[in-house]
Amino acid sequence: MAQLTFREAIARGIAQEMRRDETVLAIGEDIGAAGGVFKGTVGLFEEFGPVRVRDTPISEQAILGAAMGAAMTGLRPIAEIMFSDFFAVCWDIVVNEIAKSRYMTNGQMTFPLVIRSGNGGGLRFGAQHSQSVENWAMMVPGLKVVVPSNALDVIGLMAAAVRDPDPVIFLEAKALYASKMEVPDGEIVDTLGTAKVLRQGADATLVALGAMVPKALKAAEELAGAGIDCTVVDVRSLVPLDTTTILREVSATGRLFTVEENPRLCGWGGELSSIVSEEIFYDLDGPIVRITTPHIPLPAADALEDMAIPSVERIVATVTQSMNG
């Protein structure tokens, strides 16, 4: 067992896979000797050298194009897009090229690649370095989307993503990079498409993702003190989506609250609400409530950013009001 930060877990997960499989390579801006702007790749360059851990120019289309071309010819690249907001400058490669090419070629090609990216707010970086873009990725047929909420899951889901034969968007919540937990030694491999029930309660189900998971857990503790007993589900993987677990946990309490960092419109919770209403409507005891960032670009000032992103207080207040209303 060792205390590991979320950022250290990223490097550990990548290293675990690079040791196992020579076809796994890492590329991105400043990921080599510098260890990544978020220090998510520290130690990889020293262990695996400049051929397997390679710095790139500021060329996001070239980075992802290279990953795609390498994946279609037998390698398993892990490419970094520094901030997920930057997907906007290379989205063509993700959406039109990587995501569509297997289908268009009638299965002639596979794309076993991972695109890691620092996602979301909390660091006061302002609108162009803070958006939570999981909903962008989720709506594209052909992409798998993974968003871990803790160091242990980072390692296991990274391993699963690298081993998966399909393209995986791996979003690392920037707000969690410094978070720490005890992580067992040895190889850790998780399964894509599995949600985790982190806490079981009788009254309401909070379904959260990424940086919202620790907040939902904290809120659940406070709510328990006030007599509202909540289940907390960590979605972990938007595609594939573990609807079996989520629907079961929503049915059990009869209430669904989503906690989402993405801006409101077309956030993942909207899709989840639709599935719940279509499939387990009669198990519901009250309205589905979505707790999201409002539909605004994120402001920089700490006071404003804290108001925008769902907080423990907002979760507690929203759930309390809705349960008592």
Partner: protein
Amino acid sequence: MSSATLDLNAKLELYRVQVALRQFEKRAYDLFLENYVKGTSHLSLGQEAIAAGFAAAMRPDDYTFATYRGHAHTLARGVPMTPVLAELMGRTNGLMAGKGGSMHLTSVEHGVMGSYAIIGAHLPIACGAAWSAQYRGTDQVAVCFFGDGSTNIGAFHEALNFAAIWKLPVVFVCENNLWMEYTRTTEITAVPNPAADRASAYGLESIIVDGNDVDAVYDVAVTAIARARAGEGPSMIEALTYRHGGHSRADPGKYRPDEEVAEWLKKDPIPMYHARLLAEGATEEQLVEIELSVAAEVERATEEAKAGPTPGADLLMKDVWADGGSAWRN
């Protein structure tokens, strides 16, 4: 210019390939007018020497990256006519069972690693395949074709810099047919030669070739591919050519001056090569026999493609994922 390295038999084969591309695409155009080929199609009529010359210089395991104007590049790598034509017609015996269409021809087993319809996107992807070959130590080379208009998009410049700094085994081939869609490329480009004039910005040699002379194309291809295979890095070649028809579908290309079209029709690569081969010792009978056997092949492919079944619902939900399915939830 006549290639010093090719013997007459090899040249007869280059002739056959060009004639095959020409006759195939003429048939594809007719089938488009008859509504057998739906959607859109972009023909390489007049530009055949480039695809033919490069394919001849490539090893079977080298990679081709083409654009939406990619019928010629696909066929030139040895993909049979029937699946290509059937793909254009949306049939299950198509190269991708009708799921890709004219603009996305792909045959991995022939090294045709896709035809891409977003301008510029495949240049970085070709870099990726070249990077992979470099890492795996296979000395395969990626050859990436694109148009003059494609030199003004960001991906072009990102890819050239990337290929240069990583010394990737990739050959970029700009088929300069003077026009993007309906706009003359010199009118919207800062330099007269859209590819060659940019080469120096990436530390590359400026190379221009007569893209209607298959021997010249072949020679330049051999050199660039050898350089890439030897680990000496990328090259970029600008091949001057002209499309005989419009940009796509039934576009008559009326925006182009008649004199310009007439002048380029005189430089049609196929009659030019026909004359050269006669001068170099081929007989008229040999060339006619090639033309007739290609015509028979096109006829057969047309019948086979037309006989292909239209795809059913089973194909619709297949192959989003590597497990063959499309499930996004459990």
